[in-house]
Structures are given as C-alpha cells and as structure tokens.
Amino acid sequence: MIEGVVLQFGQMFLVLALAPLLTGFVRKVKARLQQRQGPPVIQPYRDLLKLLRKEVVLADNASWLFRVAPYLIFSATWTAAALVPTFATGLPFSTSADLLAIVALLGSARFFIALVGLDIGTSFGGIGSSREVMIASLAEPALIIVAFTLALIAGSTQLSVIAAFMISGEAGLRVSLGLALAALIIVAIAENARIPVDNPATHLELTMVHEAMVLEYSGRHLAVIEFAGSLKLLLYVSLIAAVFLPWGLATPGASPGHYMIGVVTYLAKVTLAGVMLALFETTIAKMRVFRVPEFLGISLMLALLGALLMFVTRSL
C-alpha cells in the first residue's frame, strides 16, 4: 500500500517534471526540421521560472475569478494527468477517476479558461472563448465515444484496467481500435491547440484561439496556465501511449527493475510522440477556423463508427 502511494506520488511529480520538457523538445525538433537552431530543450523551464518571478499586471476590471482560475485550471489538469498511467498500471488513486472522469476534469479546466477569456471584456478574449467552446463541443463528444470503444473492448472504463488489458494482448488488432486511435489523435491535436487547428506559436492573429483567451494574463498566472497547457499535452501523449502502445508498463507488484523498464519505455514513447507531433506540424498548414468543425466532425464520425462496431459485434 505504502509502496503504491509512493509510486502514485512519483507519477504525479514525474508528469509535473516532464511536461515542460516535452514542450521544449517538440519546439526543438520543429526548429531543426525548419533548418533553425531553436531554443534549448530546457527553455520552457526557464520561461516558467522567469514568469513566476515577475509581477502580475492585472487589468483594472479583473475579478477574483480571473486570479483564482489559473490555479483551478492547473489543478484540474494536473489531477487528470496524474491519473493516466505513465510507467505503471494499478496505482492506488487510479480507481478514483476513470477515463470519463478524466475527460470531464479536462472539461472543468476548459470551462474556466473559457470563462476567464470573457472576464476582462475584450473582444480578443471573447473570440477565443467562443471558438474554444465550439471546438470543445465537437472534441469532447468524440473523446467520450472513444472512451466507449475502449471501455467495451476492455470491459472497463478504468484506464489502468484498459491498459492492463491491452498489455495482455487479448485485444488483438481490431478495426474499432484503429478508428478510435485516429479519432483520439485528431482530438488530441485540437484540444492542445496544435496546428492545423490552432497555432501555439502565434500571437496577434485573428485565427488564434487558445492564445486569445489568455492574452490578458501575465507573470505567475501566465506561468501556471502555460504549465497546465504543457501538462495537457503530456496527458494526451500518455493516454495514447498507455492504450495503444502499452508495452513496458509495470503491473502491480512488479520488481523495481520492472518499474525502471516502465520509466525508460515511457520516456521513449514520449520522445517518439514528440518527434511525430513536430513532423506532423511541420508538414501541414493551419486551416481556417470554420474548417475545424469538419476536421473534428471526421473525428466524431470515426469514433462513432468504432463504437458502433463494438456495440454490434464484440470481435471487430
């Protein structure tokens, strides 16, 4: 039990420590792909520290919600990220929230970030919020339906149980799994404000979504929100890795060596995901805002198709 709790806290702080690194890594790979030197991989940590030390410049009419929301966004995202299996399954707190609850926790974070976009009463904030909820209104159902598919394959909505089932190899190759993976990747791109849905590197562009909502933030508030953004990216990577690339995950009661293997393979998976993301983002152009619903509609349809297959036959 104590060992489990230690591992659980280990996972919580592992994702916390790793999240900015992944962001920095993706930026670095992207820069290299574009024939640029790029900032060092640890630049996000430096940025966070710099922002944390700076004073907060708060708009005159900012409310208490504006000041509280960054911490709520961060804690909801962190809670969700800490519950996705990274290097081991069956950690003690994994039973306290299943995949549906993790989706909903991310929904809580998004609810607050969309609200603070409206708090100052600027048109940029409003444009960001209204587009964010439009994207979410398609991405979240797709994610829930992907969760349906996975739950029906593994017979459980617990991520830990799903991951354990996937390691066991009983799932095999299934059409519905493929559809779910495609849908999940599209959702992950949209939810993390990556190209082609949104551009994390833009500023002052009418097509921006995420950046528009947090435009009024500065100092420690901005640091916390950026951190939450990195955590969310890592969360989706861990989620895809735990379900679709479950190899190396340590099961409960494994030896310390197994846990080490788990950590190493996890790092390898995250690296792979980072490279893939950078490659994808470099090769594709950003799309117009009203093409995004079509893009996400594809994801929703793929997810629904996968779930339907699972409802109709248990073998596909």
Binding site: V56, S63, F111
Partner: protein, 679 residues
C-alpha cells in the same frame, strides 16, 4: 375515513402539511397586501416544506424496510373517495418537491419584496406547492388527475402574475392549451387502463392485465401526457415561454420541481402500474430523450434571455432523465434487472440534481433581474463585482449543470454513461444501433451544456457592464442569498459523497424494475462503484480533495517562493484596448460559431449583412434569422386549422332557437343510433 394502515404517521404528516399549505394560501389572499403578509405565507411554506422534506427523507432512509402506507379520505367522487398512498417512489419525489419548495420559500422571503403585485403571487405559491405534493401522494386516477390539473392551474396563475406584458399573456395561453392537452391524454390513458369496470385505485389497476395493444396505447398516451408537462420535444413549446414568465422562485419551482412531478407521473404509470414493458417503448423513449437533450441545449445556446436559456436547459435535462428511463425500460424488457436498476438510479439521481442546480440558477437569474430589471444578457455584464455572492452561487450551479467534476451533475451523467456501456448485453438489434447513437447525443449535449453555461455566466457576470442598470446593481437580499448558498452546499455535498445519495435512492428500484445496485456504503472512502470495482469506479471526494489541495498549495507556494506582486493597469488587448463596453463579445456573437456549426441545418440559421454603398454614411446592418422548425411544422398548422374551424363554428352563435333545438334533436338521434349499432 380509514386510518393509515400502519402506526407510522408519515402519510398523516404529509396530508396535514398539504392542508396547512392550502390554508395559508387562503390566508394569503387577505394578507398579501399587508406589510408582513408575504413573509407570513413564505415563512409558513418554508416551515411546512422543511418538515415534509425531513419526513420524506426519514421514510426514504428506511429503505427496503419501509411499509407502504395508504389511506382513503371521503372527498372527491362519493363511491371512490380519494386514495392516498405513500411508498418509496412517492417519498423520493416528496423529497425533491419539498426540498425545492423549502428553498423557493426561503428565496421568496427576500425576493418577494420586489414583487409589484403580491396578491397575484403570494396566495397561489403555497397552493402550487400543495398541488405538487398531492400529485405525488395520489393513490387513484381520479385524485391524480384532479391534483394534476390543480398543479397546472395554480402554476398558470403564477405565470400570469405579470399579465400586463403581452408576452406573458401569450405564454399563459399556450401553457393553458398545452396543459389541457396533456391532461386529456392522461385522462384517456386512465380511462383505457381502468376499462368499463372502473377500478380507478392504483392498487387495483396494478392487478389489471391488458393485452399488448392496449398497454401500448396507454404507454403512448402517458408519454404524451407526462411528456408535455415535462417538456419533451416536440411538446416542449410552452416551457421556454411559461417558465421564464413567472417570478423567479416560481420559475425555479416549475423548472426544478414541476417537470420532475411529470417524470414521477411517467414512472408511476409506466414502471409501476403498466406491468412488464415492451421493447419498442424503450426505443421510443430513448430516441425522444436523445433528441430532446440535444435540441434543448442547442436552443439554450442560441438564447439571449437568461431565464429562457435556463428554461431550454431544463428541456435538455429532461431529455437526459428520459434517456436514463429509456435505458431502464430497455434493460427491464431485455431481462437485465441490475442494469435497469443502474439506469433508473442514474435517472432519479439526475432528477434530484437537476432540481437542485436548476433552482439555484433560477434564483441567480432572479437576483440579477431584481437588481437590474434585465433578463437579456446583451444588457448585463460585470455583475461579479457588484453581486459577488450571487455570482459565486451561479458559478457553482453552472459548473454542476455542465457536468463538471467534482460536482453532482457529473455523477448522474457518469452513471448514465455506465448504463449505456452495459447495453451491448441486450439482444435486440435495434437497440444495438440506437443506444450508441443516444450515447453520442448525450455526450454532445454534455459538451454543449458546458458551452452554454460558459456563455450564461460569462456574459452576465463577467466582462464590463453593458448597461447602466448593470453598473449599479445591488447584491440580493439576505434570505435569497441564504437559499442560493444552501443549494450550493447541497450540490457540492451530493457531488463529493454521491454514494449516500445512491444508497438512499436505490431501494426504490427493487419494486419498480426488480433489481438493485450494489450498496455504496460498503465501498471505502466514498468511492462509488455502479457495477463492480474492475469495471468502473469514481471517487468525487478524492477528486475534490486533490484539486482543492493542489490548487491551494500551488498558489501558496508560488506566493511564498516566487512573487506575490500585483500591479493594476488598463487591459492589454493586444495593444488596441476598446473603450466602449459595447465592443465586448455579445451573447449572439459568442454563440455564432456553434450557431454556424449546428444551427445552419437544425434551425436554418442565416446571417444577413447589409452594407451601405461606398460614400453612404448610413448604418450597416447585421441580422440573424433562427427558425424554430418544430414550431413552424407542428404548432402553426394546428393553430391555423383550429382557427379555421373556430371561425366556421362561430356562425352557430347566431342561430335561432329553432335551429338550436334542431341541432339538439339531430345530435340525440345520431348518438342513440350509434348506441343501437354498438350493441
């Protein structure tokens, strides 16, 4: 009068409470205009509601040991009397009704001061409460229908409280028509049910055995009758008109409680009286539930009027409840009683949750209306500064209704999802396709509900004030704030300790669907496990604890170790700050992306931009047209047809006495000949 069948006085207490409410309603007629009159009426209603809440809760907590109580009063039809029954289902809905009644009375203590014409509200309020209680304890068809009509009429009187406004008169008219239509359907249903022998008491009706066709017709009529009161699409048309027209604490009761009484009627007749369900019932209920949920929330998203937004969101939540009930029907007819119990508990949990957070949100909207005289969000904004308590309460309500953990709305939707995930075990092929589609609709409506309440809270409470009234708004009265905070506490409590709620509701399912959920109190640390631990579990307490702790510890650490300085400055807005609050995002511009994505097809939403020619200094115009296709395709033709027939029939008014006598003669002869052929 026969005494209650057991020594337990619960039913007697409920009947006494109803009598007191009716009496105080009469007193209210005379005292409404006095200075302390409204306070007296609301105070007595509050006390009675609290007593009845406690009584119902105590009965419900007895669980499976609770004895069904029944009594017959010598009122109503002489040879039938009025039966009143009390079982666990009744107790569950008594709890919902009186909890809502208690908070509404408390809120009314403060809000009533703003009432321009108290004689139109104060007497009808306790009567409305009494009528809702009467529907729930009614034990025969006659008293059920009388109470049902009584509930409709007393709420109609409250809808018409501000009859000076044309919109309210129209809302009242449509409400009255729809309510009569619903009662007619129920009347026919009971008539078919009891048959020519006329055994109208529920105890007798339960024993009746009908063929498939007749139960099918009865089911359809009940779905129409109760569905029109609950607000199922396409019978929802009156709801978004009538609920917002009433004073806000009455809107809260109508949306939060009265729609649940309609759900009670559906459950009582379909699950309890009608015997084993047929599989197509579940298909109908699931399809209508799913469509209701999605259309309701889309309408809400496009609405600019805060109270009407809340009313449309009620339509959505009724859809979610009926999805749960449809799943329960499917599992019951498919022979999986434990899954039926899960779906049924999910529906009942959502009944309770919705009564809590929808009341809370209507109180918030009422406080905003009282402070600004505005319901249109285009004229609100920035109220979080002027009304901090109301804003906080509304925020919690918005989070709860958007199904965000760790609040209560999430738990009931999560349970519904868990029930959906059991459905591949059903053998019927139609359901295998329908249920995932309904699951997708539920997921879609949950996501859209979050968007909708970002809009509701963000536009009304955040940003800069869009009108001078919003600039000088005052915080709500103490009693009203108390009512809101009470509901906030209940929403949070039901979210972090849902196991207790499930255990309290669960005994209801034994009698109705023949199954039972696992006892949640056996789980460690407030975890809930709907089926078994390897399938799924959720712990709202841990989620709450962890998010609260990490947020506060993170904030503390950053303030201690890094920086705690704050400088106030004008907004940055990318260097182009706009000085006028009118340049903020408005309600319709916020809804624009979702309107384009979903509304272009479903509501035929079109945008028209009229630009002036170069050199012309006139204003450009932007117009949005959103059509309610259900209204146009269903209600308008009926309205036209009825108008046409009424016009023709109107000529009969000018007939002579001979023509009238001739008409009576012809009618008599044709009826008699009909009877002759019938025999």
């Amino acid at each position: 009068m026969s005494a209650p069948t057991s020594a337990d006085p619960t039913l007697s207490i409920v009947l006494c409470g109803i009598a007191v409410l009716l009496a105080i309603g009469v007193v209210g007629i005379f005292t409404a205009r006095t200075r302390r009159g409204p306070a007296l009426v609301y105070g007595v209603s509050l006390i009675v509601s609290v007593v009845l809440t406690a009584t119902a809760l105590r009965f419900l907590l007895d669980g499976v040991d609770a004895q069904v109580q029944a009594t017959v009063l010598p009122i109503g039809l002489p040879w039938i009397g009025a039966h009143f029954d009390l079982d666990l289902l009744t107790a569950m809905f008594l709890l919902v009704a009186n909890l809502g009644g208690a908070s509404a009375s408390l809120y009314g203590l403060g809000y009533g001061a703003h009432e321009s014409d108290p004689t139109r509200v104060v007497p009808a309020f306790p009567v409305f409460l009494a009528a809702m209680n009467l529907v729930v304890i009614a034990g025969d068809a006659f008293s059920f229908l009388i109470s049902w009509e009584f509930m409709s009429l007393s709420s109609w009187a409250l809808v018409m409280a501000h009859h000076e406004e044309l919109d309210n008169r129209r809302a009242g008219y449509i409400y009255l028509v729809m309510a009569s239509f619903g009662t007619l359907a129920l009347l026919l249903a009971f008539g078919l049910f009891a048959g020519p022998d006329g055994s109208y008491a529920f105890v007798d009706m339960r024993l009746l055995d009908h063929d498939h066709v007749r139960t099918g017709i009865i089911f359809g009529l009940v779905l129409v009758g109760c569905g029109s009161k609950a607000g199922l699409v396409p019978l929802h048309a009156w709801l978004p008109l009538a609920h917002p027209a009433a004073p806000s604490h009455v809107s809260a009761l109508m949306s939060g409680v009265m729609t649940k009484i309609a759900v009670y009627g559906f459950i009582r007749i379909v699950f309890d009286l009608l015997g084993p369900p047929q599989i197509w019932w579940s298909v109908v209920v699931l399809s209508i539930g799913g469509i209701t949920a999605v259309l309701g929330v889309l309408h809400a998203m496009l609405e600019d009027d805060l109270k009407r937004l809340l009313a449309y969101s009620t339509v959505e939540n009724i859809g979610i409840i009926f999805i749960g009930l449809g799943l329960a029907l499917a599992f019951e007819s498919g022979g999986i009683p434990w899954a039926a119990a899960l779906a049924f508990v999910a529906a009942l949990f959502h009944v309770l949750n919705h009564s809590l957070f929808k009341s809370l949100l209507f109180y918030g909207a009422g406080a905003v209306h009282a402070a600004t005289q505005q319901r249109n969000m285009e004229h609100l904004g920035g109220l979080i500064h002027r009304m901090p308590i109301t804003a906080f309460a509304f925020l919690i309500g918005a989070m709860a209704i958007a199904a965000l953990p760790p609040l209560n709305g999430f738990v009931s939707e999560w349970l519904t999802f868990q029930a959906i995930l059991v459905s591949p075990q059903l053998s019927a092929w139609g359901l295998k396709f329908l249920i995932p589609a309904v699951g997708a609709m539920l997921a879609l409506s949950a996501a859209l509900a979050a968007a909708c309440f970002v809009k509701a809270f963000g536009l009304a409470f955040l940003g800069r004030p869009r009108s001078s009234a919003a600039q000088v708004a005052q915080e709500a009265h103490g009693a009203s704030r108390g009512a809101m905070l009470l509901l906030v506490v209940l929403c949070i409590a039901a979210g972090i300790a849902p196991g207790y709620v499930i255990d309290a509701i669960s005994p209801v399912t034994d009698a109705l669907v023949g199954g039972h959920m696992p006892v949640q109190a056996d789980q460690s640390w407030l975890t809930i496990v709907p089926i078994d631990a390897t399938r799924s579990s959720y712990n709202g307490f841990y989620v709450f604890l962890f998010t609260a702790l990490s947020a506060s510890l993170g904030a503390y650490a950053i303030h201690r170790l890094a920086s705690r300085e704050v400088r106030r400055a004008p907004p940055w807005d990318c260097g182009y700050p706009d000085s006028s609050p009118a340049l903020q995002y408005s309600a319709s511009s916020f809804a624009q992306p979702i309107r384009r994505v979903f509304g272009t097809l479903l509501f035929q939403a079109r945008e028209f931009v009229v630009m002036r020619a170069p050199g012309d200094v006139g204003a450009a115009h932007f117009r949005v047209v959103v059509r309610d296709l259900i209204w146009e395709a269903l209600y308008q033709p009926i309205e036209r047809y009825v108008g046409f027939v009424a016009e023709r029939a109107n000529r009969m008014q000018f007939w002579t006495i001979r023509q009238y006598l001739g008409l009576v003669f012809v009618a008599l002869v044709s009826l008699l000949s009909l009877l002759a052929f019938w025999q």
